[in-house]
Symmetry: C2
Subunit: 322 residues, 2 copies
């Protein structure tokens, strides 16, 4: 019997371009979080003139959403980006220690992609903190707590050649980042064999940090974007203590298979919300609309632990100094 | 009349594989600096089994060098690099404030290239401080002084697509880096139209930071590596206050034109040394040997100022929020 661990909402998608306050091309990979008893989303959408907007949307129940015309995008200054290059993929983290939300998103240009950081307490006023990576980063999620007194993030540099792996970095202040280490290399399983990247910001559970991420498979006609789950050690998230061997989701519904970019399930938010133990996973579908799947947090944790830790045999064949 | 601003040493190259204490493949892009009244170089060379070594070499006059068998390379731990992937391009900076030398070099792997930092006071004992960039960096030089209380570096990320520009980053502690800004974009002049990267660590002059860097031109049969010069504001090195429009050097000698990689002049050290106003520029030639060219510091500064500052017209055609 087939068994799914993320159950799609039957009235998917929850937001489409028809929900935008203007003529738009798409509404896709968008971060969401709980705020003041409702859910808030920063809807990553493009107006018909191809201008990227991140519009504030709100929902009481997580199913019905109202997209406002409040736009948080701000053009980076003193840098040769321009709107046609695109801004992508909002992610939102609540930082209890700072009593504020941190928002990451990508800004693309002919010089590469960079991650921008923005701060807000109310989703009305936004403080742009500027770039927190160099060029060639597409995905970045911030942990909702400091680890050993340091901010932490997962990131996926997108470099030349074969690069497409997940790293972890630390920062004393969110401005200067370092101590970057490889967390997960692609090519572990078929559904994540081409590229992987952090998806939703980490969800704290009593067993570890639950990470919903995306993994890509390359085929003869392009790239299929899938979702996976892993569990990181609470104290030291450089350690993968569990990982689902199988995928969490692969594109199979019409709205995931067909659109601006076919075959895309791209998770950007995972929020404990609704029933007890319920995780609401929001994901961009086919770079066209936003969909919802629900999972049991404890079941995902269990599946990760059942898969067990991943251990790499690093190819240290010899010491250099031999 | 042809006029050169960097005069090649007539007995070039100064170090070849024949100077190594073992059978080697090459001795090329190597950092050098003054230490205890002599010059010291960390010779980037490969043994015949392709193992990278950084050997300490010494010279009284900067012309005759003796390469020792002291090797400073150390394999990165807990990371899937192995020797066959290569380690490249030492650069050395004396940091007066810390009374020590900082050495940067690249470590390559199938996951990308990263910059490693090492500290020494005597070139006998080396302290490995680990990686200071994520993947996909090849060139990094550290300023010999803090700028406004911060360490600073020039770097060249090497990303997918068309990336090959010089950036500046800052750090409070050499471990965590940020505030990354574009310094110089490639495609300014023909000899630097394909890629550019920092070469020698910055040289302080009374008019500004003198930067000797490399610039590449792509042609039908590969890439020609050239050298250029620019001058950065002393107080705020994000500002290019002068830049030679023409090249400083293009490959034209046999040892630059022919070797493991043809057509390469790759500067890695620029040391005020010898006569008054003399700059000794060491560069890898054709990825095979190490050569020396001498220049007048004041003349280079003058040429940069004559070229004048570079101003970009960023392509901010519209605000996003219009």
């Amino acid at each position: 019997m087939n068994k799914e661990y993320a159950i799609r909402y039957e009235n998917n998608p929850v937001i489409t371009k028809d929900d935008l306050p203007f003529r738009g091309e798409c509404a896709f990979n968008s971060g969401a979080i709980e705020h003041n008893g409702e859910l808030v989303m920063l809807v990553n959408c493009w107006r018909d003139d191809w201008r990227p907007h991140f519009l504030v949307a709100r929902s009481k129940d997580g199913f019905k959403w109202k997209v406002s015309d409040k736009n948080m995008t701000e053009m980076p200054k003193e840098y040769p980006y321009h709107p046609d290059h695109g801004m992508f993929d909002t992610r939102i983290t609540w930082m209890e220690e700072d009593l504020c939300y941190y928002i990451t998103h990508n800004v693309s240009s002919h010089l590469g992609g960079r991650i921008n950081l923005t701060k807000t307490t109310d989703f009305e006023n936004f403080e742009n903190m500027g770039f927190i990576t160099g060029v060639d980063h597409r995905n970045c999620v911030i942990f909702p707590e400091k680890i050993d007194g340091m901010y932490a993030r997962l990131e996926r540099p997108a470099g030349e050649g074969d690069i497409g792996d997940i790293y972890i970095s630390y920062s004393p202040d969110l401005i200067f980042w370092g101590k970057t280490e490889l967390l997960l290399e692609k090519q572990t399983f078929w559904w994540e064999s081409h590229k992987i990247g952090p998806g939703a910001p980490p969800v704290k559970t009593d067993k570890g940090w639950l990470i919903i991420y995306h993994g890509c498979r390359q085929h003869m006609n392009g790239i299929q974007y899938n979702a996976g789950a892993m569990l990181l050690d609470l104290e030291d998230p450089r350690k993968i203590i569990g990982k689902m061997r199988g995928y969490l989701m692969v594109p199979e519904m019409d709205y995931e298979l067909n659109g601006n970019v076919p075959q895309v399930v791209f998770p950007t938010a995972a929020i404990p919300h609704g029933e007890e133990d319920e995780l609401k996973i929001y994901y961009g579908a086919a770079d066209t609309c936003i969909a919802l799947a629900r999972a049991s947090i404890s079941e995902l944790v269990e599946k990760c632990l059942e898969g067990g830790p991943l251990k790499y045999e690093y190819q240290h064949r010899d010491k250099v100094n031999d």
